[in-house]
Amino acid sequence: MRHSDRVLALLAGGLLLLAASGLDAGLRRQAAVAELRQQRATVQALELTDLCLFTEARYTRHLSQADLHTPFQDHPLAFDHFPSGSLVSPPLRRE
């Protein structure tokens, strides 16, 4: 078998898998519709405002409800000392 045939077959296989990943994503999204609807109903019923991504600090647990200065509450020049503070930006509010 020629080198070119082998390499082109590998690339074609890779491209096929890329297309398959798109198809897989579509199918998984469809399968998750009911679950997302259920979670949305929980958000509505419990009046939740935030995702439970970072539970270590108040201002990252309820990111949208926090004050801008909360990470620096200890004293005006204090650094934000929770690791998740480096992953998220402060809440966006109207001017």
């Binding site: 020629r2 080198h3 070119s4 082998r6 390499v7 082109l8 590998l10 690339l11 890779g14 491209l15 898998l17 890329l18 990943s21 798109g22 897989d24 994503a25 998984r28 999204r29 998750a32 679950e35 997302l36 259920q38 979670q39 949305r40 109903a41 929980t42 958000v43 509505q44 019923a45 419990l46 009046e47 939740l48 405002t49 935030d50 995702l51 439970c52 991504l53 970072f54 539970t55 270590e56 600090a57 108040r58 647990r61 309820h62 990111l63 949208s64 409800q65 004050d67 200065h69 929770f82 690791p83 998740s84 480096s86 992953l87 998220v88 930006s89 809440p91 966006l92 509010r93 109207r94």
Partner: protein, 377 residues
């Protein structure tokens, strides 16, 4: 056309043979390149999926949350504010919300304690999130003792646990009755954590918020659109660790490109000289090098992207867990839903495949246009 394709196949044959001659160097290059793409694609897929999920879920959040501020800090809101705000046109419903945090010294975790409005619970009953149940080993009928604000232990019976597939929103929740909540945290009757308002017409939300700030100057309204915007910028490329990753990947690419563009080795020059001496044209040499760059970068892109897809959507982005977890004890176990942005994938493809291929061709073009005799000497 047939002739052109046959020619390209011969060029690929030669290129692959040439790559195999320096097997370890090129495999190392492919591995590092794949790792860079894998890292970038994993961050891209994970953050996009999370942002989309946040948008879908939090579009059911309260339209307006009204907080009271006292000396710059959030304070309890008196129930009288519900009357004081007056009759605002467009507001279809208004009520107080009761929620807060509880630090559990046993597992050193923070819980979110909440009073549900539509789920009647007995005074000694609680409903817990699946993450909390897992970390404390709680099941239906078990007891959880919480310390009240006056130091007295209060035992609650777990009446139910929230669905495990909703951990992304409820992993750390404890739901309890209003009376128990007020007793636990010593919150007097007639006070709430904040107020939630529903507005009939979504276009009136801003006007309602302005009227609220005028009627109750010590309050701060938080609109649903602001919550959604906060999560839409979650892990945006301009901030924190994502920027660090991006800068690292960019630097790696610059080093790749610099290494390629800064010149060819004497061996490569000799090879080009021999090829030209045996009759190869400049276009053939450039074509051969184009295939070299394209095969490596395309291979790295495909491998890196597919591995990232598996990592994020089949292994639940396990490599990111320590980063996201930080110092938290409670971490939701969730399965990202594969929302994929085609434009993002195309951008990743362009920025990973194109610069490397171009950086491979340019120095070759300079060497290939010179006289073979001069190159070999």
């Amino acid at each position: 056309m047939q002739h052109y394709l046959a020619r390209q196949r011969y060029l690929i044959d030669y290129t692959v043979a040439s790559l195999l001659r320096h097997r370890s160097k090129n495999l190392g290059l492919l591995l590092v390149y794949t790792l860079v793409v894998f890292m970038l694609a994993s961050v891209m897929l994970f953050t996009h999926s999370l942002r989309q999920e946040a948008e879908q879920l939090l579009s059911a959040a309260p339209e307006i949350v009204l907080q009271r501020l006292l000396a710059g800090r959030q304070e309890l809101v008196p129930a009288s504010y519900l009357e004081q705000m007056g009759r605002i046109r467009g507001v279809s419903e208004r009520h107080g919300r009761l929620w807060g945090y509880y630090y559990d010294p046993v597992v050193r975790a923070n819980y979110t304690v909440l009073v549900p409005r539509d789920r009647p619970l007995a005074a000694d009953e609680i409903v817990v999130g699946a993450g909390l149940a897992r970390s404390r080993g709680l099941g239906h009928g078990d007891f959880l003792s919480l310390r009240a604000s006056d130091g007295r232990p209060v035992a609650f019976r777990v009446a139910d646990t929230l669905a495990a597939d909703s951990e992304l929103i409820s992993a750390d929740l404890i739901l309890m009755a209003e009376a128990s909540f007020r007793d636990l945290f010593a919150i007097p009757a007639g006070y709430y954590t904040d107020l939630a308002l529903s507005v009939r017409n979504p276009r009136e939300v801003r006007t309602v918020a302005e009227k609220l700030t005028l009627a109750l100057p010590d309050t701060r309204p938080i609109l649903r659109s602001e919550i959604l915007r906060t999560y839409a910028t979650l892990f945006s490329w301009r901030q924190g660790i994502v920027l660090v990753l991006l800068a690292g990947a960019l630097l790696a690419f610059v080093i790749f490109a610099w290494d390629k563009a800064s010149g060819l080795s004497a061996e490569e020059r000799r090879e080009i000289g021999i090829l030209k001496a045996v009759g190869w044209e400049t276009a053939d040499v450039i074509g051969m090098k184009f295939w070299e760059g394209a095969l490596i970068s395309l291979g790295a892109f495909l491998l890196g992207y597919l591995l990232a897809y598996l990592h994020v959507f089949y292994l639940d982005a396990g490599l990111f867990e320590p980063v996201l977890k930080g110092w938290a004890v409670l971490y939701p176990s969730f399965h990202p839903v594969p929302f994929i942005d085609g434009l993002q994938v195309a951008t990743l493809f362009f920025f990973t495949v194109f610069p490397y291929t171009v950086a491979t061709i340019i120095p070759i073009w300079r060497a290939a246009t010179t006289d073979p005799d001069a190159v070999m000497r």
